[in-house]
Amino acid sequence: MTRTRIAAILVAFALLALVPLVVTDSYVRHLFIIAFIYAVVASNWDLSLGYTGLFNFGHLTFFGVGVYTAAILAETVELSPWAAILCGGITAALAALLISAPVARLKGIYVVLVTFAFSQLAMQVVLSQSDITGGAEGIVRIPYLQVGDYRFIRDYNLAYYYTAFAMLCVSTVFLLAVVASPFGKSLRALRDNPDYAASRGISVARQRIMSLVLSAVFTGIAGGFYAIYLRVASPEVFGFGTLSLALSMVLIGGVGTIIGPVLAALFLTFLTEAMAGIRGLEDARFIVVALAMILVLRLAPGGSIEMLSRLRLGAGFRSRRETTDTAGNRS
């Protein structure tokens, strides 16, 4: 990653840290919180999908496992909501370990089928075990976060905003550190040429398992936070709608970039919400997102990061041409 890109990321995150000072409306803050949660989910999905090349369509299952872990532990077991959120990360990692056993040695479409079947299985377990999970109605009135006497539900989402933002910051730093490490480079090697990677001592199965487990940790924590923040756990989190929205964030943002899905999560959350407020476009917003995904895959498969790079290269080229024209050295 270039210094310019690191500087741009730091500036963007600094601006996000200042948002609540300017934006006092609790609904807009709520949108940011949802966007941060999706950003964590999408960027962590990028680790297994973009960096490892694993067509893992069960990533939202890890999110759902986090949601239900936190909900059950906080509501039923009466564990501290903070601890319940963290436990969401642990159970999601365990779920990833479970699914990685059959996935580690599979290729292409078979990975899609197994991971998708796993997500459907998880949803059926949630629906069938209604005594624990609340079945189709889910779990409601989950305890909220508080620090001492400070209750997070009485400050126009200020504390929740910073908690979600902190989660996104830690998750992003974690992901960037992982992809920059020798382990991260081995994932890219494995994705681009598995045989060559194996001939250089990389264990295909082990790296895939590690990638899935690592991508599940913060996804599960985000799921736990989602349940505690919204105070509800519903089987909808395993549904195709949530999955396709998160996938569109990864693809539109740019696979194998980490930052791309974060940007796309922010952009798409506000775009879909803005469109929901326009009469006649309430349901069309998902069609627009799907069309955007198709267009991006067709025109710039690398997503928004690739488009930004192209724009920058184009601007650089134009700038150089203008310089030479002005100097009169070349036509």
Partner: protein, 243 residues
């Protein structure tokens, strides 16, 4: 000779009804350069695949490396045991630079970490004379010769006991082949055993101490390279019966 580092015993590989490699047996002595030749489709690369387990092990037979049976072991474990290979087609990690590719080999196959891996990567790049100003370029943007250098270097970086090269001279110019000839001899002098598949006979005969010729998945001839290439069966297999 009595110190085999690699022993292949009746190794076979079938794909449905096709017998790609049939009952091939040979051994390679520690420290030698062992050549493998044969017409296209004779099973040379398949033989490499069986030995390294990439992408498949033998259907039957055994492969012993350094006294340990390795057929049935996972490919990465075979690589870590000191058996490094290159591929016939250009192989690269397009997103990784030359140095990063070397670090992969040093870290995983060589079991090195930190500075040790860094030094090994730099040494291997020097050994294959990889241009200094191209070491941070992504591999996808390298020339054919640079990719060859990188593939050989990334095999050498882990200090393997055997280096298996699959047609390293294909697509190279004469000066590049001459440089490759020198490199192979230099590497061999450091104690690395080399197993070499090559169509460029001048290179193969120049460096090989023994030569094995395959045809239709079976051994046609083996022994002293100069004698093997004069074998009428070998001439017929290569030239289709012309005298």
């Amino acid at each position: 000779m009595s110190n085999p580092i690699l022993e292949v015993d009746r190794a076979s590989r079938t794909f449905g009804g096709l017998k790609a490699v049939q009952e091939v047996s040979f051994s390679v002595e520690e420290g030698e350069i062992f050549g493998v030749a044969g017409p296209n489709g004779s099973g040379k690369s398949t033989l490499f695949n069986l030995i390294t387990g990439i992408p498949f092990p033998p259907t039957s037979g055994s492969i012993v490396f350094g006294g340990t049976r390795i057929d049935g072991k996972s490919p990465h474990a075979i690589a870590r045991s000191g058996l490094a290979r290159t591929f016939q087609k250009d192989a690269e990690f397009p997103d990784l630079s030359a140095r990063e590719t070397m670090l992969i080999g040093a870290s995983y196959a060589g079991g090195m970490s930190g500075r040790q891996a860094g030094h090994a990567a730099d040494d291997a790049l020097e050994l294959v004379s990889f241009p200094e100003d191209r070491r941070d370029v992504e591999s996808g943007h390298l020339s054919v010769y640079e990719k060859k250098q990188l593939m050989i270097g990334s095999a050498l970086v882990s200090n393997p006991r055997i280096l298996m090269l699959d047609e390293p001279a294909s697509g190279l110019t004469r000066p590049e082949i001459a440089a490759l000839d020198k490199l192979l001899l230099d590497v061999n002098r450091t104690g690395v055993t080399i197993l070499l598949i090559e169509h460029v006979l001048s290179l193969l005969l120049s460096v090989s101490e023994r030569l094995l010729v395959l045809n239709q998945g079976q051994i046609l001839a083996s022994g002293d390279p100069q004698e093997v290439i004069r074998d009428p069966k070998v001439i017929e297999a290569y030239l289709g019966g012309r005298k």
